[in-house]
Point group: C2
Chain length 336, copies 2
């Protein structure tokens, strides 16, 4: 675990400056203090809390989502949440959740027993036991990418899929693409549903037609590509929009293996902008989810729920990140 | 993003002149100052958030909405916003906005010139000039009950109309009502559109049928009732759901004047829960918007936008407030 000295070394400041930052002393600037706190969280430093603050604890519950390495989708979400929470003197525990833990203990019981004032849930699926229990929970709960109706203690947070997919479709259309295929993520996921609806709406509003042989659900992994790309290519797709960057990686590989060059013969666009995206060959054009901001925002919302402001839904803006996997449609491809 | 130096180069003046223009110094002409501001806006310059507390100013811009008396819809919104903002050392100015002010000065120019870091806009209509300009504003802006797509500096905040209307319909259905009429607010309002769609969805999901003679748009005022209530009554409505509490007040009066007792013969339900609702005869069952929380939340979101967290949409939960204007459907009425 990082010490004050480690933090000081990393920032190139003195140990006493770091110490002041961590203790909220008034004779350092607010900016420096936040930098110290952010770095402390990032390096895994944890303070000893005074007795009275002992009960200010939140948790991040994670299922089916990788977050431990900086390359993974959940990493920046966790970091952003902790950075903001730490700044407001909350302790945060990260708890990987299994089905057996959910079967063993009710959601509310688990939180209460462990002294948590609220939770941020990432990666849960609709059929999970704790998800079912969220309909009636009395614990402030922020839920990534899922919506629970009618319970004032639960808020849905995510990136606006409608705006993201619409950006992607407009970007491709502007490059001359008309036969745009969509390889979505898993069925039975709210986010996939939104993206599917968003794709059909965006195509229609651009005056483009969709067809069954240019749309498919897969899973949010690269392997999905092999089952659907051949069909898209023979149906004449000139561009493939993917449910996330991992799918896009698989799509690029699959196209390349079949002698289609990306982007000269076929444009590919992802969703998320995880670090992998920029490192692909070619670097991936994608719709960025600002995961650090999303994590920060999840904290802000959870803190609001704790203070009885019943927010039901908060969406962040996506961003189009243009790299090299999309280009103007080629004459050859668009006619084949 | 443009710097002070870019602006100086474009105008062929010194950096210090631009700086004076932006800071409102008195030793440059008003014309030059206006030119500096207009150019700054045009080039996408946005104020550096000064560390000096004196520049920490936000504004609430209000059009077409009453807020000065505690009875009025906007009062608690303004209060909640100011409460949260003051707690975080922001100054807040309340500015009633007219069409002529909007014609006189561009939105961004107005904010920059007056040193505001961001604005909360209440009561604006889609056709307002400043609303049009929000599509491209570089100023952090939170907008009550209206949505601007694709601009990361603007966030929509409101109460979830879908959940609110659905609560109302379920409440009435549980009381045995099937012929439920809906007197909506004004056409050409995003909120009215949502409530209309929500009503049709909720009726369908309750297995109830809607019909043209039981739905109408009016205006968000009591007078609306007289034009539509007679038709609803003769079409056999046993309950009337209203776009807001003012409409509900008119509906109760109109029903009473025609010899229908509320709630014995006809149930009436409002939306908003302004103080008037509890004071009506009978006290009005309504869907509450937590306006103080909405104001507090508007501040939280605006502060997030100022710190470059691009939230696009935040919705609060409505609450069903059961009073005496709704009751179990009577045999007599339901058969007539």
């Amino acid at each position: 675990m990082a010490t004050i000295k480690d933090i000081a070394n990393r920032l190139g400041v003195s140990v006493s400056t770091v110490s002041k930052g961590l203790n909220g002393a008034s004779d350092i600037s607010e900016e420096l203090r936040q930098m110290v706190l952010d770095t402390a969280v990032e390096m895994g430093y944890s303070t000893k809390r005074s007795k009275k603050e002992e009960n200010r604890k939140l948790c991040i519950l994670i299922e089916n989502m990788d977050y431990e390495s900086i390359d993974e989708f959940g990493y920046d979400l966790v970091l952003g949440f902790k950075q903001n929470a730490f700044r407001h003197n909350w302790d945060v525990d990260i708890i990987p959740v299994t089905s057996s833990l959910q079967a063993e203990e009710k959601y509310d019981t688990f939180l209460l027993k462990n002294g948590y004032c609220g939770a941020f849930l990432m990666g849960f699926a609709l059929h999970d036991e704790w998800m079912q229990q969220l309909a009636n929970t009395t614990m402030p709960s922020v839920l990534l990418d899922n919506y629970i109706s009618d319970n004032p203690n639960v808020c849905y947070i995510g990136t606006d899929s409608y705006e993201g997919i619409s950006m992607a479709v407009r970007h491709l259309h502007k490059l001359g693409h008309k036969k745009i295929a969509f390889l979505n993520g898993s069925l039975y996921s709210m986010v996939s549903d939104h993206r599917q609806e968003a794709f059909e709406m965006a195509m229609e509003s651009e005056g483009l037609t969709t067809s069954e042989d240019l749309m498919a659900y897969g899973y949010y992994v690269s392997d999905s590509a092999q089952y659907h790309v051949p069909g898209f290519l023979s149906a004449g797709a000139t561009a493939i929009l993917c449910g996330n960057d991992l799918i896009a990686k698989g799509v690029i590989n699959e196209c390349t293996a079949r002698g289609f060059r990306v982007p000269e013969d076929i444009s590919v666009i992802g969703f998320d902008d995880i670090p992998l995206a920029a490192a692909l060959t070619p670097p991936l054009t994608t719709i960025r989810q600002e995961r650090n901001e999303l994590g920060k925002c999840a904290y802000i919302i959870l803190n609001s729920l704790v203070h009885h402001i019943s927010i039901s839904k908060t969406l962040l803006r996506p961003k189009l990140i243009e790299r090299e996997s999309t280009t103007r449609v080629s004459k050859r491809t668009s006619n084949h």
